[in-house]
């Protein structure tokens, strides 16, 4: 069995068996969808849940990825990392294992959110819209997982990482196009939202919903993803124990 799959399976088993991490990962995005999607007094559209679902999907991938960085820190603090590094497979298979497990977790969570959104009255996606959505979420997940892994290796401390995590997540989410369209934003936020990578993923999913193919967004995310994976591989090869 490929070492990447072995590492991935290990983390998935630990996730399922560690019940509360799993339950929380399921409940949190559903709560967002319910309270943000249905409860906010929105005037620019009469079906806000359609609008906000891509934002919640991307936010879920964001938090799943950052949690994945936390897994890496714990592995390192508890001594697993050193054991793995002394094994024959190349170092970066640990990284790719983490990227894979985060992507799988993200996809499972996204599926649950989508089902929940459809239940709450969002317009059903066609199979090709679904495929496009998953494609973007996968690229975005790999991008964020690599970024999170690099930050985790760099910070090398659980508390520091949790602090960095909180500092990154909130501003990144609210400065994206997740909650409101560009036309509704205050003018100072528009340029920030336009360069926010989250917006690229969210806009991409929305463009798929209109029936077009968001080549710009997919292209930008793919290039950024390849670049960040490169950085993460470099960081992994250089890491000092």
């Amino acid at each position: 069995m490929n070492p990447i799959l072995v590492y991935c399976r290990r983390d998935l088993i630990r996730w399922f068996r560690g019940k509360w991490g799993f339950i929380s990962a399921m409940v949190m995005p559903a709560a967002w969808l319910l309270f943000v999607g249905l409860a906010l007094p929105i005037s620019f559209t009469d079906n806000y849940i359609d609008f906000v679902t891509p934002g919640i999907l991307v936010m879920t991938i964001l938090s799943a990825s950052l949690a994945g960085g936390g897994l890496l820190i714990l592995d390192r603090m508890l001594g697993f990392f050193n054991k793995f590094l002394a094994l024959p497979p190349p170092r970066e298979s640990i990284l790719f294992g983490k990227i894979l497990v985060i992507s799988i977790r993200g996809i499972i969570q996204s599926t649950i959110i989508l089902c929940f959104a459809f239940l709450l009255g969002a317009k059903l996606y066609t199979p090709s819209q679904l495929a496009g959505t998953y494609l973007i979420l996968f690229i975005f997940g790999a991008l964020l997982a690599s970024a999170a892994a690099s930050i985790a290796i760099y910070l090398d401390d659980h508390d520091q990482y949790a602090a960095a995590n909180a500092m990154i997540t909130m501003p990144l989410f609210f400065s994206s196009s997740a909650m409101m369209p560009y036309e509704q934003m205050p003018s100072w936020l528009v340029p920030v939202a336009h360069i926010n990578p989250l917006s690229f993923a969210i806009d991409g999913i929305r463009i798929f919903q209109t029936g077009e193919i968001p080549l710009t967004q997919i292209g930008f995310l793919s290039i950024l993803c390849v670049f960040i994976i490169g950085v993460a591989v470099h960081v992994f090869r250089k890491v000092q124990v």
Partner: protein, 327 residues
């Protein structure tokens, strides 16, 4: 010339001036070792460079200078070959508590690319006497069982060299003994065991050869027997009340202060005991207890690393506490 002589098939680990510096601090200083099929102990206090040496030999850390060969492969140019031939068990006791014992071992079998992972996992679990409880989560395993589980993980691919970093730290007496018995069996089966420890008595009892390291420098390498011959005298430990001002007796030499006691080396311990007592009493010092023993590895260690002029009694006892945190 020397290097070529050392580089032969009898040795599974050979180091050449292996050095690691962290800024100004020299963690490991020009270490030259040749280790064959034996239990080789590297002995030193915390922070003396034991673990750093192991990390370099297991390819986890790049040496600043010098190099090493493990199983004939260079740690710098053929790290993967090295990792395929060895196993490394760090100090931390990292087993996945949410996996069963069997799953823990099976995962490593797959990561090592073992041909028949399931069979091989069963085999090592049996060898380490974990078969009965292999289906339980590692969460319920005791410290000794977790350590054996780690050994099972390490042995699953039949390594030629096994690196163990403080294998018995934190274990009770029975569990420690069991771990060492397993290690001895492995050595008898032809494996090289490279073990770091700061427990002198264990090194004395179980290691075939011992290297004493302090501040990154190897002070001596030999069998425990030969090391103890460095101190060819008896060791006398005297507990006193009152200020010690020194004794001058033929065949008796002051060694060092140890906690509240004064330690002497004597050519003939039996005769020296009453002499020391009399001499101390004459100086107005009250002797409260005396003991006579053969030199242990502890004494050799203190003799080699702790007798520099600048180290007063206070330093020595601190040192002592550091090296024997056993309570």
């Amino acid at each position: 010339m020397e290097k070529e002589a050392k580089n032969d098939a009898r040795y599974s680990i050979v180091t050449y001036d292996l050095t690691k510096k962290y800024g100004d601090l020299c963690a490991v200083n020009q270490v030259n070792l040749s280790v064959g099929t034996e239990i080789f102990g590297i002995l030193g206090p915390n922070g003396s460079g034991k673990t750093t040496t192991v990390l370099m030999l297991t390819t986890l850390l790049e040496p600043t200078q010098g190099t090493a060969e493990v199983c004939g492969y260079n740690i710098h140019t053929e790290p993967r070959k090295v990792r395929e031939s060895i196993s490394y068990v760090p100090q931390d006791m990292a087993v996945d508590v949410r996996l069963t014992g069997r799953e823990n071992v099976h995962m490593f079998a797959e990561l090592y690319g073992v041909q028949n992972p399931a069979e091989r996992s069963e085999e090592v679990l049996r060898i380490l006497e974990l078969s009965d409880r292999a289906d339980e989560y590692a969460k319920v395993y005791s410290g000794g069982m977790r350590r054996r589980l780690e050994l099972a993980q390490a042995l699953v691919h039949n390594p030629k060299v096994l690196f163990l970093d403080e294998p018995t730290v934190g274990l009770d007496v029975a569990a420690r003994k069991k771990i060492w018995e397993h290690i001895k069996k492995l050595r008898n089966a032809g494996m090289t065991i490279f073990v770091t420890t700061h427990y002198m008595d264990e090194a004395d009892k179980y290691c075939d050869r011992v290297a004493i390291i302090d501040h990154g420098t190897i002070k001596a390498i030999d069998t425990p027997e030969n090391l103890k011959k460095i101190i060819s005298q008896d060791v006398i430990s005297v507990s006193v009340t009152g200020p010690y001002t020194g004794v001058d007796l033929p065949g008796v030499r002051f060694a060092f202060f140890e906690d509240e006691s004064i330690v002497f080396y004597a050519d003939s311990g039996d005769e020296a005991l009453p002499q020391i007592k009399d001499a101390l009493s004459a100086n107005g010092v009250t002797v409260t207890a005396m003991s006579l023993r053969k030199p242990s590895l502890d004494d050799v260690f203190l003799h080699l690393v702790g007798t520099e002029e600048d180290k007063g009694p206070f330093n020595l006892s601190t040192f002592r506490n550091m090296t024997r945190r056993r309570g």
